[in-house]
Amino acid sequence: MTEPPPAPRLRILHALPAGPLMALPAVLALLLFVALPFATAVALSFTDLRMGSPLATEFVGAQQYQRAFEDDSFRRALANNLWFAAVVVPLQTLLALGLALALNRSFRGRAAFRTLFFLPVVFPMALIAVVWQLIYAPGPNGILNALLATVSFGAIEPLDVLRHPQLALPALMLLSIWQGVGFQMVVLLAGLQAIPASLYEAAAVDRAGKVSQLFHVTLPQLRNPLVFTMLVTTILSFRVYDQVAIATRGGPLDATTTVMFETVRTVFDRQQVGLASAMSVVFFLMVLAVTLVQRALVRQEREID
């Protein structure tokens, strides 16, 4: 193979070390658009910076953090995020696992079912939040209310789910699960298909039943995809914003407010950049803590193995 001599342009590149050059654009952009803004958030969180105010910005120490934690709505938001994760992660994982197991069997029409359960993944959350307001519409005409009335033979009175202090957050959880379960299912399905058939054959020789196979072969083999999807779902639970901003505006009585919703409200509706920055830092620490805990758990399990 005769190669033409490298173009002069490339020759210049040869002169420079290729590694840093190739990594440069991405690393520089990450520093500029991720690391620097975050450093700014930390810095701003110690000031009382307000957008547009003609008054001078002052250093206020940890006052913004104190205010954030004294704010009932923000505290409620933290609790809501934790509750959201505590419900959605196990529920969605179980559902996804069930679907993956069901759709891993071979039967006619399997592909169509897979497509169908995956479909909501390509729906933007903003769209889902808009459409589901109709599903949750109050009064007997709401789809959910009609469904509940039918299955209960009229025993369940029409609810205003999105304005119900106890049901509003679960309603948002439901639509989030509806959108998210397909993603988890696909990852788990791939995990299932990667399990060598020989393991099941060996189990069958040992006369292990279906249930025993599930617990002794399938689940241990699925550990990595399970951990991955649970981590992703947990972090997504902390990032919940679109549904809240569109469908409930944090109400009723802060029942659906989230850390991100409070943060955006603080900076965009109230121009309090300093306070919102403190909230952002708290948000990051929360995500960081979850990630570290999950990592530590995984490492421990590995050591046990």
């Binding site: 957008m51 109709l134 202090p165």
Partner: protein, 468 residues
Amino acid sequence: MDPPDPPGRVESFDPEANPGQDGPVMTRTHSHATTALLAILLGCTASCGRDEGPQHTDDGALILRAWAHSGQEEERRILEAQIERFNQQNEDLHVDLTLIPEGAYNGQVQAAALAGELPDLLEFDGPFVYNYAWQGQLRPIRDLLQPGTFDNLIPSIVDQGTYAGRFWTVGTFDSGLCLYASRSQLEAINARIPTHPSAAWTVDEFDAILLQLAQAAESGHALDLKLNYRGEWYCYAFSPALYSAGGGLVAEPEHDTAAGVLDGPESIGAMRWFQRWIYEHGLVDRNVDDAAFTEGRVAISWTGHWEYENYLQALGDDLVLIPLPDFGHGTRSGQGSWSWGITAACPQPGAAARFLDFLLEDRQVLEMTGANGAVPATRSAIEQSEPYAEGGGRHLFALQLTEGHVVPRPRTPAYPVITSAFEQAFLAIADGGDVESTLQTAAATISRDIEDNDGYPAPADERHGEDD
């Protein structure tokens, strides 16, 4: 007993008191060390906003950028048509309109203001003017307008545009609230139908009527409060009830705290009624489809002038306009509306003012108010406007404004926080939250904001030095 004067009114507006103070408004204080440090950290100095100077179209016309809210469909259509007409009439000017969604309007303005990216002409909901003027985003327009234009304005519009002794913003219409009702349904329960503000239902009377109507209604609901709206609606529509009860949003006229006012016994009492109607008795339709009244699900709709045409179409002769209930000190309607200002950054304020003069011509005012049902902002337009004359369908709105049954929203730069806190409190109360503690929280939020901003010191005249 005569109802007391609405609090916070500027007793007299004397345009001679502050002659000719156009030109630069207050500049930002960038003196503090922290600010300088931030500027370095952000890789940016105080001058980093865009300063482009005047821009022109290919035909050489000066471009005037304008922001307006994307309100009712008809309003949008007419504003667009008017701008087209203006651009045709004035070959040297070209108004370029951007419509901004109403829900996040203030946030958009504040963010754009940061880099001096505000358009030349800015429309905003009236009470925000005090904040924008305080921040230095606007310039006074009294002397930019034709003398005839200013003198033609009705008093409530002059009041709304006045802050710290200067005139900053002008609307082409004023607003009003009322109860729209179905006459036949009221007659069916033998309810009294008051049409003059002085004869408004007492709140007890209103409450009894709602209960009766709900009982008679198939839906079980009696009232529409437009709970499907967002943002400014709550403060505009329901804070007048607080004033009607003798309470309010912030201390008047000092505007130095909300404590004891927003969470005072009178305000608490007024908000208890709303909780009773919405939460305890479920008398209010959630209005998910914005059609509770037109579909006949409720007999009464508590809303603004802009629904007049729509409701008239749906109910015809059965429609009747009733003043809002009297919570103790006489009925009170909200007032003030979307309004135009010229930004401090506008390089050619004289040209921008020509557009405002144009919008305040009788033809344009009548065209707009003919479509949105609002009260015209000029005396000459009101004279020519039949619906507002005695016997006209919307006479009530004009009556409320001219006879003082309205309450302006607090004239303080703290207004954006006030409205945001009030909205949150109203919704919480509507959802069953404890009235007293909810209002206490809201009052504390507002008071703290005022404190944080050193009480929003008024722009002292000496800050304008040579201009005065």
